[in-house]
Amino acid sequence: MKKLILLLAIVLMQVSMINAGEPYKAGDVVSDISLKNVKGEMVSFSQFKDAKGFIVVFSCNTCPVVKKYQQRIIDLNSQFSDKGYPVIAINSNDKGVSPGDSYEDMGKLAKSKGFAFQYLYDETQDVAKRWGATNTPHVYVLSKKGDKLTVEYVGAIDNNADDQERADKKYVVNAVNALIKNEKVPLTGTKAVGCTIKWKNA
């Protein structure tokens, strides 16, 4: 009986840990996602057979900081997708709170900017909640070993949102370059001013 209670306690603890959804940080293992892209197809990490990892960006259509970084996000994908680290952008903003972040507007933005990367719609906001994403843009660099995806870096793209030329710490570029060279990621987490993810009104 004691054993059963202990077992039950362990199971309950694990369940509550999953539900609590501690924000992902470097070292955490990420479960796969399944979200709709702007073409209406469902996209998962597992579909990218050749990927060695991912540059996941919690993004949106409207945030002025995202707009400042838009070209840098496009450039990250062109720089690293061929090397096995494609950008996956996710919009988790609620269209009721932020009408410009609707699925239709995502399609328009992807077309006008010529996004060569997947731009996914987290309509239920479950992915943002599970990952602990709070801002846009909020980047998670992942590495893939076998089927296991591990968080290697969480935070900002670089240290100057306003002016790319003045950014002298390119966090994401440095993290991915380190992974490519099989080296330790120099900095595994940073913080940056950004827009809040627009959560559904309770």
């Binding site: 002025p64 900081v65 400042k68 709070t134 801002n135 909020h138 935070g155 900002a156 240290n159 100057n160 949102a161 306003d162 002016d163 003045r166 710490k169 940073t190 913080k191 940056a192 001013v193 950004g194 827009c195 809040t196 993810i197």
Partner: protein, 180 residues
């Protein structure tokens, strides 16, 4: 007496001098009234050391420091509530500060006009350090950097509350009252 040419000359001289003085006064007031300070608010530029000084202020009063930017829609919508609330509290007991995170190119174009238009009298500090990772944790280790965010503190009484996201005017008053 008025006919006395010497007196006339003196009056004329004084008038000319006064004229210059008036012009000087007018120019000075134009200068003063055009500067942000005369609009009621006081905009100053700060770096990390000044931010730390603000956060470590030892005075026994409640400090309400709001982090915002004109590019942030929820921030902009909560600012008038801060202005209204600030007017209802004794500045000796509650001190308000708006820390603007506007980009350098937006200060003259967006921030100053916004403050004028909304008749903001709360002091405004523009954070010039854009290397956010270098100072976000100094405000609060729990802060991920999303704005708006508001810090309430009285270092003398060791009270502190950090609020992320928008704060409505009734919420703002509630937090202040509970910390007074």
């Amino acid at each position: 007496m008025v006919n006395n040419p010497n007196v006339l000359r003196l009056v004329a001289k004084q008038f000319i001098m006064k004229g210059w003085f008036h012009l000087y006064l007018t120019l000075t007031s134009v200068f003063i009234f055009c500067s942000p300070a005369a609009q009621g608010q006081n905009v100053e530029y700060i770096q990390i050391p000044e931010l730390e000084k603000i956060l470590k202020n030892p005075d026994n009063k409640l400090f309400v420091v709001n982090f915002w930017a004109t590019w942030c829609a929820p921030c902009v919508s909560e600012i008038p509530g801060f202005e209204k609330t600030a007017k209802d509290y004794d500045p000796g007991k509650v001190s308000f500060l708006l820390v603007s995170l506007d980009f350098p190119s937006q200060i003259e174009k967006q921030l100053i006009p916004f403050l004028k238009k909304n008749k903001i009298t709360i002091d405004v500090a523009v954070m010039k350090n854009l290397d956010y990772n270098a100072w976000i944790d100094k405000v609060d280790p729990e802060w991920q950097g999303a704005i708006p965010a508001t810090l309430f503190f009285n270092n003398s009484r060791k009270t502190r509350y950090f609020h992320t996201g928008e704060v409505t005017e009734p919420e703002l008053r509630k937090y202040i009252n509970s910390l007074l």
